[in-house]
């Protein structure tokens, strides 16, 4: 096993994804410890070639082929498995995004490299790599050892690399097999827009599965009315159709940063926290005292949301009419 740290650079629509700087910052730190190089992998169709020069890596491995015009899992797997075999890196880092979730396990099975998923910490201790990972919806962390391998890294786990560019760009030939893939890219569909833009709100009353059913959304609407805010939701609530998809906060929903975020019956899974942890004031109402939402909340209560929410609405309305 070599000493390099390989990083897959995610990019979409001509822009490098935020995860790249976070992964490369960590890769440079780890490479300093292993005595290897931080290698950034840029898979592109030519139109994104210019992104290579701005990457904060020791070296950029630039692989050009028309199959890389969009993220296509099979094409990416071929390229990454090939690079892992050729360069024999100590570690391969991917972001724990859709792209990374799609690739990491497949690469692990194909290359026999161990995989640490939902990774939030990485250190080299002599011959072993120690990874810390979120498990059980973020309720627990697991510290594991591996000789090297793959880590899929959670957004925000590592600070972005300072300083940009200047990396040597090395053109690498595309792997065989890209001409007869078993999948084809059809279309990119932009998200629906809506009347309510939850990213533009000062106050969000956010409901999770604890709200129990769409007949109870009204309770949150009433509180939102008393505060002049808007109701948003966790993923299961949107998936169930209790609120529109455009109201979803989190990894696959919107990232929000309101002045006040009241989480009602939301457990605080990593994918939800990713979308709201930077809110100015977070209040969490959850009957489970161990729910991870309390790790990011400023104030919390384990009282039942069906009692607290109407009581809070009433208290606010009483205060308003007294004023």
């Amino acid at each position: 096993m070599g000493n390099d740290i390989l990083v897959l650079v995610e990019h979409h629509a001509g822009a490098v994804h935020d995860s790249a700087a976070e992964l490369l910052g960590k890769a440079r730190e780890l490479a300093a410890a292993t005595g290897g190089e931080a290698l950034a992998v840029l898979l592109h169709d030519g139109s994104a070639a210019s992104l290579a020069s701005g990457l904060p890596a020791d070296r950029v491995l630039s692989v050009e082929h028309e199959a890389f015009a969009h993220f296509l899992p099979e094409a990416y797997v071929l390229a990454m498995a090939g690079l892992m075999a050729d360069r024999d890196p100590r570690l391969t880092l991917v972001a724990n995004t859709t792209v990374g979730m799609d690739l990491a396990g497949s690469l692990s099975a194909r290359t026999s490299a161990p995989l640490a998923a939902y990774c939030i910490g990485l250190e080299v201790e002599g011959d072993v790599v120690v990874a810390t990972n979120q498990v059980f919806g973020g309720k627990l962390h697991a510290e594991v050892e591996m000789p090297g391998g793959i880590a899929s890294v959670v957004a925000g786990a590592f600070p972005p690399a300072e300083g940009a560019g200047g990396a040597t760009v090395e053109s690498v030939g595309a792997p065989d097999g890209l001409g007869n893939l078993r999948m084809r890219f059809l279309a990119r569909v932009e998200p629906e827009t809506s009347d309510v833009d939850i990213t533009a709100q000062d106050i969000l009353i956010s409901v999770g599965r604890g709200i129990g059913g769409d007949e109870n959304i009204e309770l949150a609407e009433d509180l939102a009315g008393a505060l002049g805010g808007v109701v948003s939701a966790s993923r299961p609530v949107a998936d169930a159709g209790w609120l529109p998809k455009t109201r979803q906060v989190g990894k696959s929903g919107r990232k929000v940063k309101p002045k006040l975020y009241i989480a009602c019956g939301i457990s605080g899974a990593p994918e939800h926290l990713e979308g709201m942890r930077d809110a100015d004031l977070i209040i969490a109402i959850n009957t489970d005292e161990n729910a991870p939402i309390f790790d990011v909340a400023h104030f919390g209560t384990t009282e039942d949301l069906f009692d607290v929410v109407p009581a809070l609405t009433e208290a606010l309305e009483a205060a308003a009419s007294a004023a």
């Binding site: 396990g105 050892e145 059809l186 569909v189 299961p236």
Partner: protein
């Protein structure tokens, strides 16, 4: 088209998760296990395809984990054609790599055209089973799918990215699709229907093949509860006390409606 849906029993996260004596796993003996919610989404998507495409059959496969019978019979009651329970000793829990290794061997004998599986489970320390399975079987895969529909002899998959961007990808089967969400919420099935399915029997039981010896390649040092980043101030008292405090906190920050 023959669709195989692997289903897993996983820890109910609403439970308090106590650690075992050496701190390397949760204390499984006392925990409540439920069907992995993403596998339920995968099953729903399979049933939607079946309803829209005559001639489609759906087979669910589960390891003999706590209460898996309930999950498999519920799948039959909802419309799955076959349910296979793989016997073995899984009480200690098994890694995703081992699970993928077992499933790969079973699925090779099932002539599947499509494998729909939950995008993840809460226990995927060493990665998600679906993509591990695809890598093991050298099958094409698309993960984080929010729609799978028959298309030109294969399927069209809607793959979801951040902020609601979706890519549509055509995939030739057999393929493994990691389902994030079905096109509609998983259907409800009455307990009485599950009981009927149980009475009718129809669970095929076979021994699970040995998982590949390599395992996950990870050595767990310890599990621990994360230290809170910003410890929340917990408000005591009953709901009215809490509401009064919260109203005050909100007012103090100048956040009440003008």
């Amino acid at each position: 088209m023959h669709i195989v849906v692997p289903m897993k029993q996983t820890v109910d996260l609403v439970e308090e998760l106590e650690l075992n004596d050496d701190g390397t796993d949760v204390e499984r003996e006392y925990l409540k296990f439920i069907s992995n919610e993403w596998d339920e989404q995968a099953l729903e998507e399979a049933l939607l395809i079946k309803e829209a495409s005559p001639g489609t059959t759906v087979t669910v496969v589960g390891l003999d984990e706590v209460d898996v019978d309930q999950t498999l019979f519920a799948a039959l009651a909802k419309g799955a054609d076959r349910a296979i329970k793989l016997g073995g000793d899984f009480e200690e829990g098994i890694s995703s790599h081992q699970r993928a290794s077992i499933l790969a061997q079973v699925i090779e004998g099932l002539s599947a055209d499509l494998i729909l599986i939950g995008v993840q489970s809460p226990e995927d320390l060493d990665g998600q089973t679906g993509v591990l399975l695809a890598g093991t079987l050298d099958l094409p895969h698309v993960s984080v799918a929010i729609g799978v529909e028959p298309h030109e002899g294969g399927v069209k998959v809607s793959q979801e990215f951040g902020a609601g961007v979706v890519h549509e990808i055509a995939v030739d089967g057999p393929a493994v699709i990691g389902v994030q969400a079905a096109r509609q919420a998983p259907r409800y099935v009455a307990i009485s229907r599950i009981r009927q399915a149980m009475q009718a029997g129809g669970l095929e039981e076979q021994e699970a093949p040995e998982a590949a010896a390599a395992g996950s390649g990870l050595t767990i040092r310890r599990l621990f509860a994360p230290e809170a980043a910003s410890q929340a101030e917990m408000l005591g008292g009953d709901a009215d006390d809490v509401a009064a405090r919260l109203a005050q906190i909100i007012a103090d920050r100048g956040l009440v409606k003008a």
